[in-house]
């Protein structure tokens, strides 16, 4: 491997690790990142501006006993890395002053998602053109569409991870996203719709997906809500369409299965491995290797190869999600879930692509068998209190189910439930499946994740509307 593909001189990385260990720490890590991004926004028929950015730097982590020291620098010279190593090591200073030099052997992470068309090879004009096409398609969807905004973004993130266990690995991660939001205006006021595409692929994303279709979906969602009535208030059965409902599992149990919450006994799932924690219809997986998904990467941000982790199998809790730090304390290996927003952040336990496996039922039958309830076609973001398991998430497109048929569209409202309880109330899982992209926030750090699920029914969940149920 050449120095260029490694972002920094291996000798400088070795020296930084040696310096970081010099205070007597047992583990040191250098994370180098070079990120280039392009963002283009269209709003009110105008391409607002094209912006580009470059961030480059290294974060150095030192672990001594129970303590982690961390420092970062934008200076990738040997002097810059040594200064950051010194700062990170200061916390772990034990005064032993011994020198431990680790030999690094480099490898490149196997490409899981080779970008066949590198976004940097595509002209900016072609990227702008996508936004114009989306704008036109959304406006053509109906005269009530009064405003359209659309965004394109691509990023190339090259990382290198080296540590005192002798690891030296690099990866090249390319992501492309495209989103459209619409505002529709009617007698009852304004309504909004949003749809996006986001995958860990190159510009070939647009050979396979149609931006017009994304725009029409966003417009249709806003238009459908113009006649929406207030959502009910109270506990009702809810059918969640495949795709965006994956966020339910991300919030309702994914966060509670992160080993940092478990270690502090701050999760409703602590101490429950081997127990029945969900309906037997539930098999939940976190898998960073699913080709091209938004949360996919060949390695995590600690250099560990991504893997498929079964968290709940047929309702039984099988394992938690682990990063290097938490796994090390338990004397086991990481599950490949150590992620960070950038070189300026410490890694922590994070999800990648989290999804429920498909079941056997026909999705249409699921609705037909529901006399009264809510059909959620699209869920928005959510939030969980991991200590209690209580979570909320927003319905951004939903319909009333009456006598087994979708009737009225409903206005936006949040659903609230308790993760461990909702998992036991899933009484039907369909044979379809879809993934959707999201952005997951934890301790102020944001990382791209995928969520997925088949169409399913929860027997009762609290809907935070204003109408009598």
């Amino acid at each position: 491997m050449t120095a260029d593909t490694l972002l920094v001189e291996p000798a400088a990385v070795e020296a930084a690790i040696a310096r970081a260990l010099s205070g007597g720490a047992e583990f040191a890590e250098v994370f180098v990142e070079d990120r280039r991004s392009v963002a283009i926004g269209l709003d009110d028929r105008k391409v607002e501006q094209l912006s580009t950015g470059r961030d480059r730097g290294a974060g150095i982590r030192v672990i001594a006993g129970e303590t982690t020291g961390f420092a970062h620098t934008a200076d990738l010279s040997e002097a810059g890395l040594l200064a950051a190593a010194e700062a990170a090591a200061a916390v772990a200073r034990t005064g032993s002053g011994r020198t431990r030099r680790v030999a690094l052997e480099g490898r490149r992470a196997g490409a899981l998602s080779a970008a066949t068309v590198a976004p940097e090879s595509v002209s900016k004009a072609d990227k702008v053109e996508l936004l114009r096409r989306a704008d036109e398609a959304a406006r053509a969807s109906g005269g009530e569409i009064v405003q359209v905004s659309a965004g394109y973004g691509d990023s190339r993130r090259r990382i290198l991870v080296a540590n005192s266990d002798g690891l030296l690995v690099s990866d090249d991660q390319v992501r492309v996203r495209f989103g459209v939001s619409c505002v529709a205006s009617g007698d009852s006021g304004l309504q909004t719709g949003y749809e996006s595409l986001a995958l860990t692929v190159g510009f070939d994303l647009f050979d396979r997906y149609d931006v017009e279709e994304v725009a029409e979906q966003a417009a249709r969602q806003a238009l459908s809500k113009l006649t929406a009535r207030p959502a009910p208030s109270g506990v009702v059965p809810v059918v969640i369409e495949r795709g965006s409902g994956g966020v339910l599992f991300h919030e309702a149990c994914g966060h509670g299965l992160e080993a940092d919450h478990i270690a502090k006994d701050a999760s409703a799932f602590a101490g429950r491995v081997g127990q029945m924690v969900a309906s037997p219809l539930v098999t939940l997986v976190d898998d960073g290797t699913v080709a091209e998904q938004w949360g996919t990467a060949a390695i995590d941000d600690e250099g560990r190869a991504s893997q498929r982790n079964v968290l709940i199998e047929d309702g039984v809790l099988t394992d938690y999600l682990w990063d290097h730090l938490r796994a090390r304390k338990e004397g086991r290996s990481s599950s490949g879930n150590g992620r960070r927003q950038s070189y300026q952040h410490l890694p922590m336990v994070r999800m990648t692509n989290t999804f429920l496996l498909a079941g056997k039922e026909d999705p249409d039958e699921l609705v037909a068998q529901t006399p009264y309830g809510i059909y959620v076609a699209k869920l928005g973001g959510g939030q969980v209190n991991t200590a209690t398991g209580d979570f909320v998430f927003g319905m951004t497109e939903a319909y009333l189910i009456e006598d087994g048929h979708l009737t009225q569209p409903l206005r936006n409202a949040n659903l609230i439930g308790n993760g461990p309880e909702v998992l036991t109330r899933i009484d039907a899982v369909a044979n379809d499946f879809a993934m959707s992209p999201g952005s997951c926030g934890k301790d102020g750090q944001s990382v791209p994740v995928g969520c997925g699920q088949p169409t399913l029914r929860v027997t009762g969940i609290t809907v935070g509307g204003t109408a009598d149920a």
Partner: protein, 447 residues
């Protein structure tokens, strides 16, 4: 400390004829200490810096940033922004800020204590917070984290239209997250003490704040669905105001993406409701002498006696509708161009204390915290639905605690339903002040 002024001035001076160039550079140093179970769990110290450049040429705007502040980074960002400009649509409203006659407020936002306090003393504060919180109440089952954090940051902006501004500020805070438990049950809450320097912080304030909030929720149940009056804890009010800020952005209004579009002069709230954006208030955490385009910040009354009186503008948004900037340009750091936002929103406080307000309300729901704000408050339609934790109010006293419930209404209705405002204004980090607020006729969803 880098010389940011010289860096941005050099970029602005490189503008070519017919071009407008603005450079914004920032630098910050942060220290974060986290303690768990009597040990330092994490100690991070870091500096970060970068420069973002806007170029407007031929009525088109390009933007680029570089996460570094060498002289070459300024040139690199300028070249990239120039390269990007031709791909944008021409827009006659695009222009950089022009210096106006408003004088900047004299604010003391920087304190020497952040830099002069040794790291060991900061660590000691976090250890002390952890120890005292664990010892304070037998019902505290776990102290999940005790954090000390501070930051020392500077930014500077210069433009070819004559803008020159810079600012430096410090922040310092203690926060603690606890779990209270009885039997199988667990409830969590957080507490804070914030200031601009370590000596302004109070370990006991953070600790007792967290403990009171967690313990109060023990025994919480799902309440019965009903319509009632809600009393919002002042921190909840601050969160809601920070969401509301987006609806008062002149740019969102001009684009028809706000529930307040076209309603200037209308009675949007009860007569007793007044809302002002005033970054010149030195008590505000977001206080600032200059906005992110380098104009002097100023007070803007937004709602006066319930009547909608103004929107917030940066230079571009103002030009969209032919009005001046209210110096409300904000940035998410050097990596984004300026948008429109609030820094110091506050509801004019009432004259009653919280105890009197609770007694006057009598029966209802006291809302201690809310969740799902981003998915639950629609700034365009006004639809409002958020998760709540708190206590039922009976005869003005805290009664049975409540969890796994939501409150719902429409923002438009809620502003007209305000029945009481207390006198307990509190500034915390974020763009808005908190004040205890009572709102009638809100739908509580539970069992």
């Amino acid at each position: 400390m880098p010389e940011l002024d010289a860096l941005v001035e050099a970029v602005a001076a490189a503008a070519r004829p017919g071009e407008q160039v603005e450079a914004y550079a920032s630098w910050r140093r942060d220290t974060d200490v986290r303690v768990f179970a009597g040990e330092i769990e994490q100690l991070a110290t870091a500096e970060s810096a970068g420069i973002g450049v806007r170029v407007i040429t031929g009525g088109r705007q390009g933007f680029a940033y570089v996460g570094a502040i060498e002289e070459s980074a300024g040139r690199e960002a300028l070249d990239a922004a120039r390269e990007n400009a031709p791909f944008a649509s021409p827009d006659e409203h695009l222009a950089l800020a022009l210096p106006d006659a408003v004088a900047p407020a004299c604010l003391a936002l920087w304190r020497p204590g952040v830099a002069s306090t040794p790291t060991a003393a900061k660590v000691a504060m976090a250890l002390d917070l952890d120890r005292r919180t664990r010892a304070a109440d037998p019902r505290i089952r776990q102290v999940v984290s005790s954090d000390y954090s501070d930051g020392d940051g500077e930014w500077a902006v210069a433009s070819s239209t004559g803008v020159r501004a810079s600012s430096r500020r410090t922040t310092s805070s203690l926060s603690v997250s606890v779990l209270a438990g009885e039997g199988e049950e667990t409830q969590g809450a957080g507490g804070y003490s914030v200031g601009r320097s370590p000596e302004e912080l109070d370990v006991d304030v953070a600790s007792s704040d967290a403990i009171e909030r967690a313990v109060r929720l023990l025994g919480a149940r799902k309440p019965k669905s009903q319509r009632l009056t809600v009393v919002l804890d002042r921190r909840v009010t601050a969160t809601l105001l920070s969401v509301l800020a987006g609806t008062l952005s002149g740019e969102e209004v001009a684009r028809g993406r706000s529930m307040f579009a076209g309603r200037l002069g209308e009675q949007v709230g009860v007569e007793g409701l007044s809302l002002v954006e005033d970054p010149t208030n030195p008590l505000a955490f977001g206080a600032a002498a200059f906005d992110a385009e380098g104009l002097a910040c100023r007070a803007t009354p937004l709602i006066e006696g319930g009547r909608l009186s103004a929107y917030l503008y940066n230079t571009y948004a103002g030009r969209l509708v032919g009005t001046a900037s209210t110096a409300s340009a904000v940035r998410g750091g050097f990596s984004t161009p300026p948008g429109v936002g609030a820094r110091a929103l506050a509801i004019e406080p009432g004259t009653t204390d919280v105890a009197t307000l609770l007694a006057e309300v009598g029966d209802g729901l006291f809302v201690q915290s809310i969740s799902g704000v981003h998915s639950g408050v629609n700034r365009v339609s006004g639809d409002f639905s958020v998760g709540v934790q708190g206590c039922m109010l009976r005869d003005g006293a805290f009664s049975e605690p409540v969890r796994e419930a939501t409150i719902a209404s429409a923002v438009q209705r809620m502003l007209l339903g305000v029945v009481a405002i207390a006198d307990d204004v509190e500034w915390l980090p974020g763009p808005a002040a908190g004040v205890t607020l009572a709102i009638a006729d809100v739908a509580l969803s539970g069992r």
